[in-house]
Amino acid sequence: MRANTWAGRNKVEVRDVPDPRILNRRDAIVKITSTAICGSDLHLVDGYVPTMQDGDVMGHEFMGEVIEVGPDVPPERLRVGDRVVVPFPIACGACGACAAELYSCCENTNPNAGIAEKMFGHPVAGIFGYSHLTGGFAGGQAQYARVPFADVGPLKIESDLADEQVLFLSDILPTGYMGAEMCDIQPSDVVAVWGAGPVGQFAMDSARVLGAAKVIAIDKEPYRLQMAERAGHIPVNFEEVDVRSRLLELTGGRGPDKCIDAVGLEATHGSAHVAAYDRVKQAVRSETERPHALRQAIMSCRSGGVVSVIGVYGGLMDKFPAGAWMNRSLTLRTGQCHVQRYMKPLLKRIEGGELDPTRIITHRLPLEEAEHGFEIFKNKEDHCEKVVLKP
């Protein structure tokens, strides 16, 4: 089959690789009909997530048709011919973490748990196409994928919703939603979201759906801010205005009640010397993060507020504003999304017209053009917000 693979730092390549086979008794093989490039794929390609190898099949946002099931997948759960969206964390459904609905922390699905344990203290779940640290599972930017624990994760789509309406249930819609849910939003809340990429856009929409009074979008790309504005959110361009001053102005001096970091470890900064400080430390690997968005979110948040982190971090950061966090009674909440927890309720919201995931799609490309897709997404060319690939 054809698959988009990691070919070294800053390089992806669509290559011929073997077709996947059933390896475990609860596996399924899915023929992929739609797949997408995620912002976190850029962290892998940019070389900031360790343990990638030449030839790794990328991609963790995909859906398609079940063409084979292992002998231990109960037919009442999944059959050949079912149309499914596949959640990016692989979860067993039986361990303590799964019992607590902490699917991205599943204790059983990462065969390379030892590496994860060394880096993070305790292991994390396996993830499709997302380094060997998360298990070394081939991803979904391909014609076919092997899906372990197919009786636990995949969501059957039984209505006639188009692929593009449900594809993002695999990751970015639940991730954005969890970012907002962790904020425990009250009707009087002003919610500020750092990053108007795909996850940020969905965090904003989710904050609105969960009842926020006002939602603010912080980014530097005018086209991304315009996209947020068209959806009813208030744009703040950090290259044009001082973010703190603008946020104070928009909140009567209080600061946003809830702040969401949808940027993560490759943040950019309007102030050259701060950007340079983290960029240099990251380049020499003496910190793994450029955490500017998170620092600013913590400094900006109203006292007693919540800072919710859904942007990806990989290791260690410097200059964490612990004083602001502690002295002003802030709550920091975070997690890789527990997608399985949110798929059904969010499917209902899509069916009910409360959320329109298609609004962020700017590019539809054949899988063969994945490299071009990565390039325009990374460099923010051609107003690229979200690329859907068709195998």
Binding site: P18, L23, N112, G114
Partner: protein, 180 residues
Amino acid sequence: MELTATTTIRKPTSEVYAFWRDLENLPTFMAHLEEVRTTGDRTSRWVADAPFGKDIAWNAEIVDETPGEKIAWRSTGDADVPNAGTVRFVRAPDGVSTEVHISLVYDIPGGTIGKAVAKYFGEEPHQQLDDDLRRLKQVIETGEVVRSDGAPWGKRAREEFPQRPAQPLSDAELAKGADR
């Protein structure tokens, strides 16, 4: 050399104990074992897998057991690598899970066998036992050892990184199986 490790399995102590008490189950998750055959009520014959040194086999006997709580065993006769082990099963505070606490003691000899065993355990000997318990948890909670494209051979995945790329296996690789 003494190694200890622990894990928590979301099953009742009776079930986890019963799985372990059937010693023939041990090779499904213990990387260094090829086979354990029950030879009597408390006696068994153990065969080591390649990384531990080829063609090593020994007899063992259970020396102490309390159903649902504890099993202790040791090698008997002139084992190449005299060894003993104790595993305890403790109900976890959540009331539904079982804590498994294992302790193994190896009397590592000199010579070729001693070298093979030392090489097998490497610089982080406890890592091997941790991995054994991870696989025990997988087998009991999910039914089998979890495989990925990077680590397709289950318990025989010795290398975590670098490993084979995360792309599907070719027919030739599947036919060849794990390096033994």
